[in-house]
Symmetry: C2
Subunit: 224 residues, 2 copies
């Protein structure tokens, strides 16, 4: 029997990842982390609604204010000024230092407690923003870290079902699996109607457009 | 210039690790995590006193109640009943699921923010209790995870200066470096005078005895 921890932010990628996990696993455990991202209340709402849809065995929301207090990201700190210029690093200043590794650690801890054997995370390598912790080479290293550093009994494996897909393919996959896109939230900055202008909104709108579907959420501006 | 994040619980191993870091690095950043361990207030006191001694550039204490809420350890939950018998796993039920990996992730996040290039952690392989996340093979995997999953600019390396030492050698090294052992705390359960009976106290007392030094902290019982 497959028992899976699913990291679910409430965004498009994690929603479709949850949809895939639902087809592959008998038991689901949904994990959400509030880490001081600007839209955390809105994300929490999406998490709750998506959970109601998929009915996992258990849900867990972690309060990770410490990650915001750590600083170092425009996503958690509006006044953030990068030490390095964007030229000196290959990814945008919305990168939250080592976030995916830390999220995976929490998922491993919970997996050990409930004896889950899979962890699902909706990372995307191709169409992502170039964050280092979205690359396959990182997940392979993390897999090795789990095998050597945890109880790992039963063996725990990381699953990244959308990592090789383009965003439009993720939308198409979600449509095929009847993922409730209307419950998801992607905007980095707004919380009532999506702004339609931030990196995350633009990637999402573009993906729906290329996939040939209308995005069911509301935008304050999507004429771009 | 070497800038180091030092994970400092306030116990014997992390104290001596901090003492080593102090001889190798120009700038120190001390990181402590309260994760609902029974003696967290006492550890916090040791952390504050050891920080006063070594005068790091910055100290940071993270509130990680979420790790205790996750459960799965006798260290954070007095009523914990292991799912598996001790025969089924190779380490004691004081193991906190994937704790060292999670601690290192927080250290990496902070290192990225303050541009530190080293992380020190006082893990011990030989004389430890057999925790999987104290083994060199785990730290090697974690190093690779940092290289692939973080900004890693400047490159960040994990340092485990006491990992190959016996506990008595750690005491001897600390004595040589004039580490303030009287400020450290090791007992898993008591908070005023060390119990002298838990795994951690016994390892510590035995180490001082073999090294030929008296342990400067008080025990309610140390005749064992």
């Amino acid at each position: 029997m497959e028992k899976a921890i699913v990291l679910l932010s409430g965004g498009l990628d994690s929603l479709v990842t949850a949809a895939v996990a639902a087809t592959q696993c008998e038991e689901l455990y949904f994990l959400h982390v509030s880490y001081g991202q600007r839209t955390q209340e809105r994300e929490l709402q999406s998490f709750a609604e998506i959970s109601r849809h998929y009915q996992p065995v258990q849900t867990k929301v972690l309060d990770w204010r410490w990650l915001a207090e750590m600083g170092g990201s425009r996503l958690t700190d509006a006044s953030y000024q990068p030490v390095k210029s964007q030229k000196q690093q290959d990814f945008p200043d919305t990168y939250v230092p080592f976030r995916n590794a830390t999220l995976l650690c929490a998922a491993v801890a919970w997996a050990e407690v409930v004896q889950a054997n899979r962890i699902y995370i909706g990372a995307v390598e191709e169409d992502s923003s170039g964050y280092p912790d979205c690359r396959k080479v990182f997940f392979e290293a993390m897999q090795k870290t789990i095998e050597t550093g945890s109880g790992n009994n039963p063996p725990i494996s990381i699953h990244t079902p959308v990592i090789d897909l383009h965003k439009s393919e993720i939308v198409a996959l979600g449509m095929k699996l009847k993922a409730p896109f209307e419950l998801s939230w992607s905007c980095y900055f707004a919380t009532d109607e999506a702004c339609g202008m931030c990196d995350s909104c633009r990637l999402r709108l573009n993906a729906f457009s290329r996939a040939g579907f209308a995005d069911p959420i509301k935008y304050s501006r999507n004429d771009i």
